[in-house]
């Protein structure tokens, strides 16, 4: 008798194997390692159990405190800015214009490349001392700025790179905008609402589920930002762009303190989890669901 279940499991096996190897195992291993002093150059057997040692070490680690501060700053600046920017572009690309499909693509394609290493490298050149930005500044009669050498500017360039990756959030916003029935806009127009009023009293409230989704996604991604600081600034100057993921990377692969890096990872994980939980808990106060259009008889 042929057993259906076997073929079923066979079909999902590639996924399960991948999940176990690349997610579950590192997840558990990092959790265990975070209680150890495991060094990358030593065999695992030599690792000693430290209890909460790594975690207490963080409490007194100024580099960690600095990195945490920069990370929060980065997240708090980029998430709202990126959401607003993505929404703005989506709003503009939602106009019914001739050739709007072309513009949607034209805006979307480059911005999804924003997360790639290549773009980060490009960023480094664009913002370099004799880079494109400074050349334009000088041409316009301004002074060249030390984009990557000045702490405030360096964070700005990294933030800007993130903003440029508005594509995926924008597409979700665009879909959300298109889901809002035109009837509602027409009803509001007859009610005498102007464009701005319609946006704030109709569009925005009806878009909150999508805003919420994008918000969660952006929070999670922003906390994990690595490419930008690693490639553009290397975390500097003066650790002004030393985001937590970069610190984790350097602790593990530069200083070989894998145990400590694992503990840092878990702290980052808990921070992200906490923000997500807060976001979900707050949702009932500002996210409006229930735009179902069918009769709820």
């Amino acid at each position: 008798m042929y057993d259906n279940r076997v073929s079923g499991y066979l079909y999902i096996a590639p996924f399960l194997i991948g999940l176990a190897t690349f997610t579950l195992f590192p997840f558990l291993a990092s959790f265990l390692l975070s209680f150890s002093d495991y060094q990358l150059q030593d065999p695992v057997e030599q690792a000693r159990f430290l209890g909460l040692g790594n975690y207490t070490q963080m409490a007194g680690d100024d580099t960690f405190h600095g990195s945490l501060g920069v990370t929060f700053l980065y997240v708090f600046i980029t998430v709202p800015l990126k959401l607003a920017f993505a929404l703005f572009i989506a709003f503009v690309l939602n106009f019914k214009l001739r050739g709007i499909g072309f513009f949607r693509t034209a805006y979307y394609v480059p911005s999804i490349l924003g997360g790639s290493v290549a773009i980060a490298v490009l960023w480094r050149y664009v913002f370099a001392g004799d880079g494109l930005i400074n050349q334009v500044l000088v041409w316009a009669g301004g002074e060249p700025l030390n984009w990557l050498g000045e702490p405030a500017y360096a964070l700005f360039t990294v933030v800007l790179l993130r903003l440029w990756q508005f594509g995926s959030a924008m597409v979700v916003f665009l879909a959300g905008l298109q889901n809002i029935p035109t009837d509602l806009y027409e009803a509001a127009t007859i009610d005498g609402a102007g464009k701005a009023r319609i946006f704030f009293t109709i569009t925005l409230p009806l878009l909150t589920p999508v805003i919420f989704f994008n918000f969660i996604m952006q929070i999670v991604q922003a906390f994990q930002e690595f490419n930008g600081p690693y490639i553009i600034t290397g975390g500097g100057p003066l650790k002004s762009t030393y985001l937590l993921p970069l610190m984790i990377y350097e602790e593990a692969f530069k200083y070989f303190n894998v145990g400590y890096a694992a503990a840092l990872s878990w702290v980052l994980f808990l921070i992200i989890a906490l923000f997500t939980i807060i976001a979900f808990a707050s949702a009932k106060y500002w996210v409006f669901y229930g735009n179902e259009r069918e009769d709820g008889e």
């Binding site: 509001a188 007859i190 005498g192 409230p205």
Partner: protein
């Protein structure tokens, strides 16, 4: 002062290369409930949206009351509109939905509350004022949409297929409510529907539209009895009128003789502008056939009987639709409406009578021919 009057003069609308409205002249008197009716794509909704200002006409002018509103913003036209989808703001309560327009107009809160309460009372929505639209049934949502209009106290109410999202039972009920509301408010209403039953039951006057033009304007019964052309004849009335092709044999002062498939009908007609040999169409409504013995009060001039074979029977309970083959009248199948549940067997024969005075006659261009001589008889 012509508050509530709507006047369209030479209104046209093109979407790109497509002419959707091809020159409409129409006057709607204050307090009338005018129904725009026609098949999908006839331009009835577009015409309503032109009145509302949600679309601007390509040509012509629109007046509401004494004002030319052709280019006036929708919110300043003195109109309110009920949408097919209700278009309630899903994140606002019933009261907020109804008061939204007043809030934007800057009315003081107590006044808004008062007006909303009054409208809610009229529509029996008072217990639902704090609910969100999603917690309402379809009929309730529709009433909220109407309530939103009432609070604005518009000169003209516009309804864009307001009942098509409701199930049949609710539709009937809401139809009655809208009729009642019209009687109560006495406001001008324009109502778009593709459902000719709604049109017949609600309208003071019906405007039949087809392909962007007005085919006929008139009171419902007027359209039913005296359709101006084949289109209106086929559109108004359910089931639709039967049409039979024929050729004019003779034209006399008071009658036109038409040769059909087998028989010749001598239709009473004044001033019929057709010539012998002309191709014409004869129309008979399914309800104007008579099955069984012809009553004695009909003289031979008015009633004719034919043999028929039953092709199909649709029983609706209160009435029966028989699809009959009557070779003397037509090649095709004619639908006959018989009241009650008459025992009919497919394939068997039947005697069917018609009153000649109830036959409609259309020329080759589809226009109704001549004055029906027996208008008084039919109307009696």
């Amino acid at each position: 002062m012509a508050k509530g009057r709507v006047l369209l003069r030479g209104v046209t609308k093109c979407f790109g290369a497509v002419d959707v409205i091809k020159g409409v002249d129409l006057e709607i008197a204050p307090g009338e409930l005018t129904v725009f009716v026609g098949p999908s794509g006839c331009g009835k909704s577009t015409l309503l949206r032109l009145v509302s200002g949600l679309e601007l006409p390509t040509g012509g002018s629109i007046m509401i009351g004494d004002r030319d509103v052709t280019l006036v913003h929708p919110s300043e036209r003195g109109i309110a509109m009920v949408f097919q989808s209700y278009a309630l703001y899903p994140h606002m309560s019933v009261a907020e939905n109804m008061g939204f327009g007043l809030k934007i107009a800057g009315l003081p809160k107590p006044l808004i509350k008062e007006k909303v309460a009054k409208a809610a009372e009229i529509l029996q929505l008072t217990p639902l004022l704090d609910r969100k639209p999603r917690a309402l049934s379809g009929g309730q949502r529709q009433r909220v949409a109407i309530g939103r209009c009432i609070v604005r106290e518009p000169e003209v109410f516009l309804f864009d297929e307001p009942l098509s999202n409701l199930d049949a039972a609710l539709r009937g009920q809401m139809r009655v409510e809208i009729a009642r509301l019209h009687a109560k408010l006495g406001a001008t209403m324009i109502y778009v529907t593709h459902d000719q039953v709604e049109a017949m039951t609600l309208a003071t006057r019906i405007v039949v539209l087809n392909a962007g033009r007005i085919e006929q304007i008139g009171a419902p019964i007027e359209l039913y009895r005296h359709p101006a052309n084949l289109f209106v004849a086929g559109f108004i009335g359910s089931p639709a009128m039967n049409f039979m092709d024929g050729i004019v044999e003779a034209v006399e002062t008071n009658s036109v003789s038409v040769r059909l498939n087998g028989a010749t009908l001598r239709l009473p007609r004044h001033d019929a502008a057709v010539k012998p040999g002309a191709k014409v169409t004869v129309g008979i409504r399914p309800e104007h056939f008579r099955v069984g013995p012809t009553p004695a009060d009909m003289d031979d001039d008015q009633a004719v009987e034919f043999d028929a074979i039953i092709d199909l029977v649709e029983r609706l309970g209160g009435e029966t639709l028989a699809h009959l083959r009557m070779p003397s009248l037509s090649d095709g199948v004619l639908v006959v409406k018989i009241s009650g549940d008459v025992p009919l067997r497919i394939g068997t024969g039947l005697r069917v009578g018609i009153r000649l005075a109830q036959c409609h006659l259309f020329d080759a261009d589809g226009r109704a021919v001549g004055e029906p001589a027996a208008r008084a008889v039919v109307a009696a």
